[in-house]
């Protein structure tokens, strides 16, 4: 089979532009609006209401405002690293989406190591966060960056354990094949329920959300690792974070909730229903739980989730082998 390389490059560029725009609009803009609306609803207030119909254009207005804001680089900062950090976070958030199958055939690339690739790209974020926190030369930012690094590496292991358990059940790392396997064997949220619980907890911690939002704990660290970032650079951090959160929700949909499969409605609709259900769950948690302390956070990961994850791998292996 011959491959038309220039055509493939053009297709890849188009795919990248589409996915990035999708993330900026559906992920970041709509995500922030949704978060504020749900927050308002849970706390018995209205949330954004004045820009556009029912406040629908609030985040669009915010983005336009941020585009006009001055970029302030502190004197003490390490300029080169300070400027690159938001880019790393945004790109890491984008790369996750290569292996997410939205519908049959609607996937950027069905990599044969899909799940491993996702885990690797998701953990790239920590590089950007740590770089940003360190380069700011600000005490709050440094503490936020360090906390984030320790938190993300601690929860990467339980996350990987949950992913491996799913890979064992399906016998493959390709995301499309995992969805197909669930069509045969039933949703993995049933057979792999412990893995699902571990995955959801670890994913919440990986994307630095409440109750694991220590890296950006407003009440103690101002804004954590992005305290010194203004205007659009701050927006890029936000974009990366929301892209990551939606990616985790999409991966949970793919691995545990049967992906695009579902009766009557078209596959794409099913995918988005399931993904938004998980996003809603994450936002619900944000407005419900208080923040953990750092030692509680690390204990939960190392002393509970990691041993539980490894034991669950053995149980799954035993069940399938014998």
């Amino acid at each position: 089979m011959t491959i038309n390389w220039p055509l493939e490059v053009v297709k890849a560029v188009l795919a990248a532009v589409i996915v990035f725009t999708f993330l900026a609009v559906i992920g970041a803009m709509l995500g922030v609006l949704l978060e504020r609306k749900i927050g308002g609803w849970i706390q018995s207030r209205l949330g954004p209401k004045h820009v556009g119909r029912q406040g629908l254009l609030q985040t669009v207005a915010d983005t336009i405002k941020l585009l006009q804001k001055e970029h302030i680089t502190p004197h003490a900062a390490d300029v080169a690293i300070f400027n690159t950090a938001p880019l790393i976070v945004a790109v890491a958030g984008l790369l996750d989406w290569i292996v997410i199958p939205f519908a049959p055939g609607l996937i950027v690339r069905d990599l044969n190591i899909g799940v491993l690739f996702f885990a690797a790209m998701a953990s790239l974020t920590v590089v950007g966060i740590l770089a940003g926190g360190f380069a700011s030369n600000n005490k709050y930012a440094l503490l936020g960056g360090l906390r984030s690094a320790s938190q993300m590496i601690s929860y990467e292991l339980p996350l990987a354990a949950a992913l491996i358990a799913v890979a064992m059940e399906a016998g493959t790392l390709s995301t499309v094949s995992i969805v197909e396997a669930q069509a045969r064997q039933g949703w993995f949220v049933i057979w792999q329920f412990p893995a699902f619980v571990i995955f959801m907890i670890a994913a919440t911690a990986e994307v630095n959300r409440v109750p694991f939002d220590l890296p950006e704990a407003e009440s103690e660290l101002v804004a954590g690792y992005f305290s010194e970032y203004t205007g659009m650079r701050f927006a890029l951090f936000q974009l990366g974070e929301y892209a990551e959160m939606f990616a985790m929700a999409a991966l949970a949909t793919t691995l545990f909730l049967g992906g695009w499969k579902g009766p009557i409605l078209p596959p794409l609709v099913w995918f988005f229903i399931k993904m938004y259900a998980i996003v809603f769950f994450l936002m619900w948690m944000r407005w419900t739980y208080p923040r953990l302390r750092l030692d509680q956070l690390l204990n939960l990961s190392w002393k509970l989730l990691l041993p539980a994850g490894l034991v669950w791998i053995l149980i799954t292996g035993y069940r399938i082998t014998f």
Partner: protein
């Protein structure tokens, strides 16, 4: 096909960087620039910053990263096994059982020695 897959990954990384840099370019063209020394001071809750942030920090962070490296390498070994263990049968399972038990003993040791305590 494999090469094609990674072409997409590479293109995504490059285009992603460009798309992320685009708003920064717009800001560069649009936004005002009036830097003065007070504005470019590091933020420290309104007071003049005291010393640098690049100083010694808690050694605990380092300990956790060391333990992490050990277990992350272990996880890398688990991925290929998870794919093929059904074909390899009971022997592969018992082997992985031994490997994991050794690692769990290692985790218990680190736990006992207090490497997982934050205090």
């Amino acid at each position: 096909m494999l090469l094609l897959d990674w072409l997409y990954v590479g293109v995504f990384a490059v285009v992603g960087l460009a798309m992320a840099a685009l708003p920064l370019a717009i800001v560069w063209a649009l936004a005002p620039r009036f830097p003065y020394p007070q504005k470019r001071l590091t933020y420290e809750s309104g007071v003049v910053p005291f010393g640098q942030a690049w100083a010694q920090f808690n050694v605990r962070y380092y300990l956790f990263s060391l333990v992490f490296v050990i277990f992350d390498v272990e996880v890398i070994y688990l991925y290929p096994w998870a794919i093929v263990f059904q074909a390899l049968g009971k022997f592969a399972f018992v082997e992985m059982l031994i490997f994991l038990v050794i690692l769990l003993v290692g985790l218990a040791y680190a736990w006992r020695k207090g490497a997982l305590e934050w205090a």
